[in-house]
């Protein structure tokens, strides 16, 4: 049951205007997600499916126009409920045309000021984020320890530099950086990729946030380092117990770390449910897209037999020219004659097929 949601995203829409095409790219188009306390929610999907933009929208880091245009992001911390997108309607004017959004005008500077005011005490403090590329995300001119210390002094009640230093060393140790006292004075370029990612995780956790957003934390690392980071995150999950939104296109990583999974495609959630159920290869009750994604991972038998991989035909959805029907229709292999018409012209709703497991597919609706 969803008894204790820490973060609740409702009907989030983030659009970008493409000047060359004179049209909106609907990067995130009506996404609903719920993060339960102490649990990890994984988001999977191909690149361009809107995973990262969802995370950036939560952090208020989308600066391109028009950006976030509608939705509710409820954050509950210590009994205090906040809406991170409060009064967004005052800044956005949406013109509808036959139920589809035809025109959006947004007072972006005003909105930027407004959201910065709301997020001042939230960003980095209540919600912190681990970015994909650790080396780029850190200041190259300052030592790793200094940067974490700075974050601690800003975001926690600690304001004594000595105490903050001790706290930094505690977190560096917690993320298993060897000889933390030495590494404290290293600049980011003096650390390897895996180390740097550990330092990032330490920085993100140092403010003791109620929500941690990890955007592709293992992409770009070597296989050996990747598995180290995954096991570190797994350990921290049990020892620190922070509520995590984990974004990755690596299904194996999601499978190991998350409790619930949302599968995104073309700016929509196509399926969400317990990760053991959604990502189990033997489980047949899931969305054709999830099934196809799972099938395209080389299995042990395929490798041994050197057989062909089951690729998903075609390319990732173009979010500018969205189809009227199901977003996955063009690449779907499970369209039957019976439901073909519906698939092509009408988009299905999310339907609960078992407890807390929702799928957006016509196959699960009775004709």
């Amino acid at each position: 049951m969803m008894d204790d949601p820490v973060l609740k995203i409702e009907n989030l829409r983030t659009y970008f205007y493409s000047r060359s095409k004179q049209a909106f790219s609907r990067a995130v188009d009506g996404v609903n997600l719920v993060l339960e306390k102490g649990k990890t929610l994984g988001i999977v999907g191909e690149s361009g499916s809107g995973k990262s933009v969802t995370a950036l929208s939560v952090m208020g880091l989308v600066t391109a126009e028009p950006g976030v245009i509608s939705g509710n992001i409820g954050l509950k911390n210590n009994g205090i409920q906040k809406n991170l997108l409060q009064d967004i309607e005052d800044y956005v004017k949406i013109t509808n045309d036959n139920g589809r959004i035809a025109e959006v005008s947004k007072d972006n500077p005003g909105w930027q000021r407004h959201i910065d005011r709301i997020l001042r005490g939230v960003r980095g403090k209540e919600i912190s984020m681990i970015f994909q590329n650790p080396k780029v995300s850190m200041n190259p001119f300052s030592s790793v320890g200094q940067q974490i210390k700075e974050a601690i002094m800003l975001n926690t009640p600690i304001n004594n530099p000595q105490e903050a230093r001790q706290r930094t060393l505690y977190w560096l140790e917690k993320v298993k950086i060897d000889s933390p006292r030495l590494r404290y004075d290293n600049n980011p370029y003096g650390l390897s990729g895996g180390m740097c990612q550990r330092a990032m995780i330490a920085m993100a956790l140092s403010s003791e946030p109620s929500v941690l957003i990890a955007d592709e934390p293992t992409t770009g690392l070597d296989a050996t380092i990747q598995s180290k980071i995954v096991s570190l995150l797994g350990e921290l999950k049990s020892s620190v117990g922070v509520t995590t939104l984990l974004i990755s296109h690596d299904i194996d990583v999601i499978k190991v770390l998350s409790d619930r999974v949302a599968v995104m495609y073309g700016g929509r959630v196509l399926e969400s449910g317990p990760s053991t159920e959604v990502l189990a290869a033997a489980h047949h009750e899931n969305h054709p897209y999830t099934a196809a994604l799972l099938a395209s991972i080389p299995t042990a038998q395929q490798i041994r037999a050197k057989s062909y991989l089951q690729a998903i035909k075609g390319d990732v959805l173009d979010t500018i020219n969205l189809p009227t029907g199901c977003r996955f229709y063009a690449r779907c292999r499970q369209v039957t004659e019976q439901i073909k018409k519906q698939c092509k012209y009408q988009e299905p709703e999310l339907k609960e097929i078992s407890t807390n497991h929702h799928v957006r597919c016509w196959r699960y609706f009775d004709a």
């Binding site: 191909e46 690149s47 361009g48 298993k176 060897d178 390897s192 990729g193 180390m195 070597d222 296989a223 050996t224 380092i225 990747q226 598995s227 180290k228 995954v230 096991s231 797994g234 350990e235 296109h249 690596d250 299904i251 194996d252 990583v253 499978k255 190991v256 196809a292 994604l293 395209s296 991972i297 080389p298 395929q302 490798i303 041994r304 050197k306 062909y308 991989l309 089951q310 690729a311 998903i312 035909k313 390319d315 990732v316």
Partner: protein, 336 residues
């Protein structure tokens, strides 16, 4: 040895970070052996996988083979001809036959050229064709790599990752390459698109009889596409053999560690075991001091388990690549 397309003998590539006109005055030599004494051969229609961590010299091998960077010493023999010391003009006919698929999709395609111009450029560099022939050849290429004709007028930034990758492959085929160095061809792609590209590469191998040197750190993909696999560590090949055997019955401790680190093989139990195992053994890599005995020793589980035998750390000795089984070579004193 007519069916060996490429043979590499004792290839070395050393970088000198302190090089320059005053380096003689600085006294001590500080050479980084990015590729150190590497030998292998690739037969026609064969794929050799090259795996290893970042910075172990995989890409440097690929670049040295194609003479994009000169070798320090050693021999590269392509189709029976020693190409190591050929001049640029002498090398031109070979360049047609040897091509590379670059890792960085966006850096490899000129952002200001349309796809058609990119392919046309590749075709004109090595052959003279009139317009009609050119169009015919371009549509042939598109068909080979399953790319829509409508994409020809697009710029690279308007294509998806998979499409860019296919343009890169089409470009190597345009000049009639027979040997292709594929440098991390799938690393930037999603699993679904990765599967498309891998299937395409294998189809092309069957149809056109291509040979690949497949560089990747994705172990599963390497095992899937390669006939044989070489595992590199700090510039040296530490183990080489048939793909299935390297993956399922590795003999070098490093290979074993590498393959066991695949995320999906991890159950909760192994994560727990790791917690208890010694932490220090996965220290950072040290390229600048690699000569003290076996290069892998500081991280080697066998070295620690055997109570640090002296032979492993002896700076005067280093283990050699030895044949321990049929077509299976290992560089270790204590193969598993």
């Amino acid at each position: 040895m007519i069916d060996t397309i490429l043979e590499v003998q004792n290839l070395k590539k050393h970088y000198n970070p302190n090089g320059g006109i005053f380096s003689a005055f600085k006294g001590k030599e500080n050479v980084i052996p990015a590729v150190d004494d590497v030998s292998f051969y690739i037969k026609e229609k064969e794929t050799m996988g090259l795996v290893g961590e970042t910075g172990c010299g995989k890409t440097t091998i690929g670049r040295t083979l194609l003479k994009l960077t000169p070798a320090t010493s050693g021999k590269i023999i392509f189709n029976g001809t020693d190409i190591t010391h050929l001049s640029a003009t002498q090398f031109r006919p070979f360049r047609k036959k040897m091509q590379m698929i670059f890792q960085d999709l966006d850096a490899a395609l000129n952002p200001k050229m349309r796809i058609k111009a990119i392919l046309r450029e590749a075709l004109t560099v090595h052959s003279r064709l009139n317009d009609a022939e050119m169009d015919r050849r371009i549509s042939e290429l598109l068909e080979m790599v399953n790319l829509k004709k409508s994409k020809l007028t697009n710029f690279p930034n308007e294509l998806s990752g998979g499409e860019k990758r296919r343009v890169g492959i089409a470009r190597t085929l345009a000049v009639g390459a027979r040997f292709i160095v594929a440098d991390e061809p799938t690393s930037a792609l999603d699993v679904s698109i990765q599967a498309q590209v891998i299937n395409l590469l294998r189809d092309l191998q069957k149809e056109l009889g291509l040979s690949y040197l497949f560089i990747s750190h994705d172990l599963r993909v390497v095992e899937l596409v390669s006939h044989k696999v070489a595992v590199m560590y700090l510039g040296q090949i530490v183990e080489m053999g048939l793909a299935g055997r390297i993956a399922n019955a590795p003999r070098h401790p490093y290979t074993a560690v590498l393959w066991s680190s695949l995320v999906d093989k991890k159950s909760d139990e192994s994560v727990k075991n790791e917690k208890n195992s010694k932490e220090g053994q996965w220290g950072v890599f040290d390229f600048e001091r690699p000569y003290a005995g076996c290069r892998f020793a500081p991280r080697c589980p066998v070295y620690h388990a055997k109570g640090r035998p002296e032979i492993c750390a002896d700076p005067g000795l280093s283990p050699q690549l030895e044949e321990i089984d049929d077509a299976h070579q290992v560089r270790c004193y204590f193969p598993l």
